[in-house]
Amino acid sequence: MECGVFHTDYRTDIGLRRVPAERVRLGLFAAALLVFPFLASPYWLNLANQIAIATIGALGLNILVGYTGQISLGQGAFMAVGAYTSALLTLRLGLPWGVSIVAACLATAAVGVFFGLPSLRLKGLYLAISTVAAQEIVEWIVTHWSALTGGVEAVVVPAPQLFGRRLNTDFGFYWLGIALAGVTALFTANLFRSRIGRSFVAVRDQDIAASVIGVNVFGTKLLAFATSSFFVGLAGALTAYYRNIISWERFTLETSVLYLAMIIVGGLGTIRGSLFGAALITLLPAMIATVGRELQESAPAVAALLPSVQQAVFGLVIILFLVFEPEGLSKLWRNVKDYFYVWPFAYRRGEGR
């Protein structure tokens, strides 16, 4: 695997892919992604698309929470801004979907900066509480400014087209979804190899020390809010185009909690973790629902309990990860790698004493 890799200069040490094994794994993963849609059933394609969108959203949230240490419970609100901006721009102004997605990302970034302003004076849990307020305020605007957003009614989004083909089919959207998720992951990876990204991490680890070495703490936080919201807005806009129909119920505080759960379960401040967490939190309820359909015939009483089971399992997964593996799935992945790193000559605790 990764034995005998010694970096002899800085260029390789900070490289995007530091060891050849990573290239191989990434290549295999990409190949699997390319083959997948031709083999998978529509059910699995649908799940894959949801995971792609969730990965983008989770990466965005991770930039803010995992890398910069600013806790945000406003994810649902930011996704709502992205979704409604793109939907309304296409619907009312007839802009092409590509343009309106970019506009939606920029609009969400602006809203993110606005709600990031309290971070000038607040941090930690006070900031977290102020983002709860942001969430409630945006939700209220969406449901009460009916002239613009249609209020509590759902908004039907025109189907996106590319080369004369509809993109909101499971198969068509898949390519858009994984391409954008890939770009987002690459951007995030490169961001944290750059000076700007490093300053995000410096602010997270110790803001006073960061300001001493010349990082503009407030500006960095706002930039983190903007970058994060940009991708969260992208996830929101993609949700709108994929679902064809959006309503405020999709972007409540529960959505914020869902995404926070993804990055906690996956691993704060890791790119791989965002993908793992998005996949787990998306697949878990789907799996439980499948079990529910199986049980519908034989044990309808148990099947009726399944929504509660879904919710309980969701809470339990969060708590178990926090108590037993706070670094999440990405740490588990590293443990597996470490095990094979020196396999079969693993050092075991207590041996050879």
Binding site: R121, V132, P307, G315
Partner: protein, 290 residues
């Protein structure tokens, strides 16, 4: 004038329930610096426990309320021991997420056992309406106000006079000093959670009387944030005053302006307070500034 009186009493009544929810929140924050996102679900649990003991077992209401409080205290202790203690000293995000996970589980348990349909239990607050001048006011709300105030006063007395109350304040002040004076921190944390669960249960019982036994009770949990931020995160007096102000504002905004503005006013207040005076009306001014 009539409308004003009605709105005032209704607002104060709701405000006192907010205060009961907020006090549990403040007790936990004071003792252990944990923001409890599950406060609303503890309330929900209290409501349904009362429904269970009054209707499903058929206990008289004194015994039923006592049973509810005992079970709530036991749940508080269990939660602290199983979930919170392993996380002492972890970053804030872990604390927030763990209480969110807890809230999800509590809600799932309530939903799984009792289902989504609204229920009622026999009211032990007086029913009917009272004429105050020419304003019509629900008697239950009128009684709920002094009842809640008495409970809150009792709690304040607990913090001033009793041994464990003083121990809790000592830990809030300086953990290390408290530890070297022989105060057991885990025990105080456990007491704090039990106390929070019990006050939430009492709030839940009153809510069950006024708005009925429905899953919506849990939404009060979010209303707690404006209340505690306005009053000051670590102040019981603040929770009471903050609860009253937020309750009143909500009803005045809803009654005089409308447009669903009552839903948003508390959060607008929250943001303004956070920007201008983050430690709230009565909180201690030790908030970390950036």
């Amino acid at each position: 004038m009539d409308q004003f009186l009605q709105l005032t009493v209704a607002g104060l009544g709701t405000g006192m329930i907010y205060a009961l929810a907020a006090v549990g929140f403040v007790v936990i924050y004071k003792a252990s610096d944990v923001i409890n996102f599950a406060q609303g679900d503890l309330l929900l649990f209290g409501t349904y426990l009362t429904f269970f003991s009054l209707v499903q077992i058929g206990l008289p209401w004194t015994a039923g309320v006592l049973l509810t409080m005992l079970v709530a205290a036991a749940i508080g202790l269990a939660v602290e021991r199983a979930v919170l203690r392993p996380l002492i000293g972890e970053p804030i995000i872990s604390m927030i997420m763990v209480t969110i996970g807890l809230s999800s589980i509590l809600r799932a348990v309530v939903h799984g056992i009792w289902g989504p349909q609204p229920r009622t239990f026999p009211s032990f607050l007086p029913e009917g309406e009272v004429m105050l001048g020419s304003a019509v006011i629900g008697a239950d709300r009128l009684v709920a106000i002094p009842l809640a105030l008495a409970l809150l006063a009792g709690l304040a007395l607990f913090f001033r006079r009793t041994r464990s109350g003083i121990a809790m304040r000592a830990i809030a002040d300086d953990q290390q000093a408290a530890l070297s004076m022989g105060i057991s921190i885990p025990r105080v944390f456990a007491t704090a959670w039990a106390l929070a669960a019990v006050t939430a249960a009492i709030g839940g019982i009153m809510l069950g009387n006024i708005v009925g036994v429905t899953p919506n009770v849990a939404q009060i949990g979010l209303r707690v944030f404006p209340v505690v931020i306005l009053g000051g995160l670590d102040s019981i007096r603040g929770a009471v005053v903050g609860g009253a102000i937020i309750g009143l504002l909500e009803f005045y905004a809803g009654g005089y302006i409308g447009h669903g503005l009552n839903l948003i006013v508390p959060y607008a207040v929250l943001i303004v307070v956070l920007m201008v005076r983050p430690y709230g009306l009565f909180g201690r001014e030790i908030i970390e500034r950036v």
